[in-house]
């Protein structure tokens, strides 16, 4: 028995060393750094975050963008998944591959592609002008709009994958029962289908939101220096000012917010009940 137990722990060692050495230790080190200034314990980094309005502004902007991106991903992804559910298995795979191809392409490449599409003489502007929708080109990049468009496109698969999986798990007979028992398609959707798809929607939205909060490359390229998200603040602190303590403090706050969000999400969507599992 003892030998058996040891052998099992042995199997865990590589993963444990990896996670422990490369994730947990650096995290702990980051936490320590955030409370140290000039070699002594200090709250100065946190105090600066409260006194300097640019931090609050950036946090607020980050959450605004993350919220908009999440909402946009839901509005695009939910109808898409619902439509995919009705396709034959072959077409479902084809559409799924179309969703995933951008996912497999480099983030940088996709962001630069948006740069090409969204510029003043880009495809979007010229098309809209040719169609007579616009008289002159609008500013679609180097601002919040461009950042939001690029991020929504890049993060959409993270919503679609869990949401579609959840929709596929919904028992078809439950939907048939709803129809037979007198529910019109709209009534059945809101009372049965939508609540049963919520765990998948929650998981997908959570992923998109959390990934958005820490986004760096896309806002850096499409934001044009005026759209400064938290990730960029951290980067500037490290690269421009070598202020590791300040960067750590911002990271700790961001990390705490994400943990809180996960905790709240878990409380809100009681997965057990929705899946009909035993508790």
């Amino acid at each position: 028995m003892r030998r058996h137990l040891n052998a099992r722990f042995l199997l865990l060692t590589p993963a444990f060393l990896f996670v422990g050495g490369l994730l947990l230790l650096p995290l702990a080190w980051m936490l320590v750094l955030s409370f140290v200034d000039a070699g002594r314990f200090s709250l100065v980094h946190y105090a600066r975050m409260l006194s300097d309005p640019s931090y609050a502004k950036s946090f607020w902007l980050t959450f605004q963008i993350a919220g908009t991106v999440t909402l946009a991903a839901i509005l695009l992804g939910y109808p898409l998944c619902y439509w995919m559910l009705r396709l034959s298995v072959v077409w479902q795979r084809i559409v799924m591959i179309c969703v995933l191809i951008p996912f497999w392409t480099s983030l940088l490449v996709r962001t630069y592609a948006w740069l090409v599409l969204l510029q003043r003489r880009g495809l979007v502007n010229t098309t809209l002008q040719d169609l007579g929708v616009l008289n002159e080109p609008v500013q679609l990049m180097y601002n919040v709009t461009g950042t939001t468009i690029g991020m929504t496109h890049i993060l959409l698969p993270f919503l679609v994958l869990p949401l579609f999986a959840a929709m596929q798990r919904i028992d078809k007979d439950v939907l048939r029962a709803a129809a037979a028992l007198g529910a019109s398609p709209i009534f059945a959707f809101w009372r049965v289908f939508f609540p049963l798809s919520l765990p998948g929607l929650g998981a997908g939205a959570m992923l998109v939101f959390v990934l958005s909060i820490g986004y760096y490359v896309t806002p850096q390229l499409l934001g044009g220096g005026t759209t400064v998200m938290i990730g960029q603040i951290i980067q500037r602190n490290v690269e421009l000012f070598s202020a590791w303590g300040a960067a750590s403090a911002v990271s700790v706050v961001l990390f705490a917010i994400v943990l809180l969000l996960f905790y709240g999400m878990n409380r809100l969507v009681s997965l057990d009940r929705v899946f009909g599992g035993s508790n």
């Binding site: 028992d171 007979d173 439950v174 048939r176 029962a177 709803a178 129809a179 037979a180 028992l181 007198g182 529910a183 019109s184 398609p185 009534f187 059945a188 009372r191 049965v192 609540p195 049963l196 057990d272 009940r273 929705v274 899946f275 009909g276 599992g277 035993s278 508790n279």
Partner: protein
């Protein structure tokens, strides 16, 4: 609208006319017609792929017909969507709403109909008491056993007092004992509420136990539609004879209207022998009897094997021509000593009343 009257005298609740359904090259329903009287309990019985579930889905409105019509009480409902048909439905896997409590599940068809809260509460109490689950309203679905879930599904199907209830193999997920108890309960429920019921099963015993009439389906057609005893005693063809009861089919030769020969032996029957086609004699294991002395309808066979099955003994018999069949005998002390041992020859008799000759169905 003129009232449609069935042959029995009660009004027709469901009428299916010439219904056909194809999936690509496969014909799942082939010009099926069925009339069900108001208040009747009709079972659709058949092997998987026989079209029984498709027929139920067509009555429910889940499947579109390529050809044919469906009428409820004389009204054409062929193009009516399921939610406007006013039917209660029970599925094999219960299909309860997992995110709702028992009471919320029952409230669903009432809410969909805009029934006021107080009236709905009364109906829910009534339906729960009907399935002996009073006081379970606040429970979650995952807190219930399989049998309780099926009762909730039943209650949900009757809570809005539909005139028509459809059940698609509702008991096949339950174990044997629970299934037999639920069969009786569903019968009682049907007698109390009197709704016309269509019940789909592949279990012949369940069909015999529960139904007013049984429709036996094979390859997308109704082969026979009759009362259980008629189906059992007077099967329409070899398919029905083989599907229902424990019987083997022996090829026989027609002699005249009431006599056939099996392996050179004469068998007299009280029923008229079909005049043409390939004929088979239905050798039901429990209808055979050890022959004593000079009897008619006797066949000699070798006992190959005995199998003890608790309430009865099963003997595997073999004719000289290699045809094998079963003989079943209750394990009563008075019967036991009379069964010939393995390897012995013995004579077995079929009463002319039990001598059933049917045409072989097309393969």
């Amino acid at each position: 609208m003129s009232k449609v009257i069935a042959a029995g005298g009660s009004p027709v609740a469901i009428s299916v006319r010439d219904a056909s359904k194809r999936y690509g090259a496969l014909t799942v329903l082939d010009s099926v017609s069925l009339d069900v009287a108001a208040g009747e309990f009709v079972t659709l019985l058949g092997p998987s792929g026989s079209g029984k579930t498709t027929l139920l889905n067509i009555i429910a409105g889940f499947n579109r017909l390529e050809q044919g019509k469906v009428f409820f009480a004389g009204m054409d409902v062929t193009d009516l969507p399921p939610h406007k048909r006013g039917i209660g439905i029970v599925f094999q896997n219960y299909a309860l709403f997992p995110h709702m409590t028992v009471a919320e599940n029952l409230a669903f068809p009432l809410k969909a109909r805009g029934i006021p809260r107080e009236e709905a509460a009364k109906a829910i109490d009534w339906a729960l008491s009907l399935v002996q689950l009073s006081g379970y309203g606040a429970r979650g679905i995952n807190q219930l056993s399989g049998g309780q879930r099926q009762r909730v599904a039943l209650a949900r199907a009757v809570v809005f007092r539909p005139k028509l209830i459809l059940m698609d193999e509702p008991l096949s997920a339950l174990d044997k004992q629970l299934r037999e108890r639920m069969q009786i309960e569903i019968r009682n429920l049907h007698e109390r509420i009197g709704a016309t019921t269509i019940y789909v099963t592949h279990d012949q015993r369940e069909a015999l136990t529960m139904s007013n009439r049984i429709a036996v389906l094979n390859r997308g057609r109704i082969v026979q539609l009759a009362e259980p005893r008629e189906i059992y005693d007077r099967p329409a063809d070899s398919f029905v004879a083989e599907f229902i009861g424990e019987g083997m089919l022996a090829s026989v030769t027609r002699v005249d209207d009431h006599v056939v020969t099996l392996n050179g032996r004469r068998f007299r029957t009280t029923q008229k022998v079909p005049s043409n086609g390939d004929l088979v004699l239905v050798m039901r294991s429990e209808k055979l009897r050890l022959a004593c002395g000079d009897e008619e309808n006797v066949v000699e066979a070798v006992v190959r094997r005995h199998v003890f099955q608790g309430e009865s003994l099963l003997a595997l018999l073999e004719l000289d021509n290699g045809f094998s069949f079963f003989y079943r005998q209750p394990t009563h002390i008075d019967m036991d000593h009379r069964l010939p041992g393995e390897g012995e020859r013995a004579a077995f008799a079929l009463h002319p009343e039990h001598t059933v000759v049917v045409p072989r169905s097309a393969e």
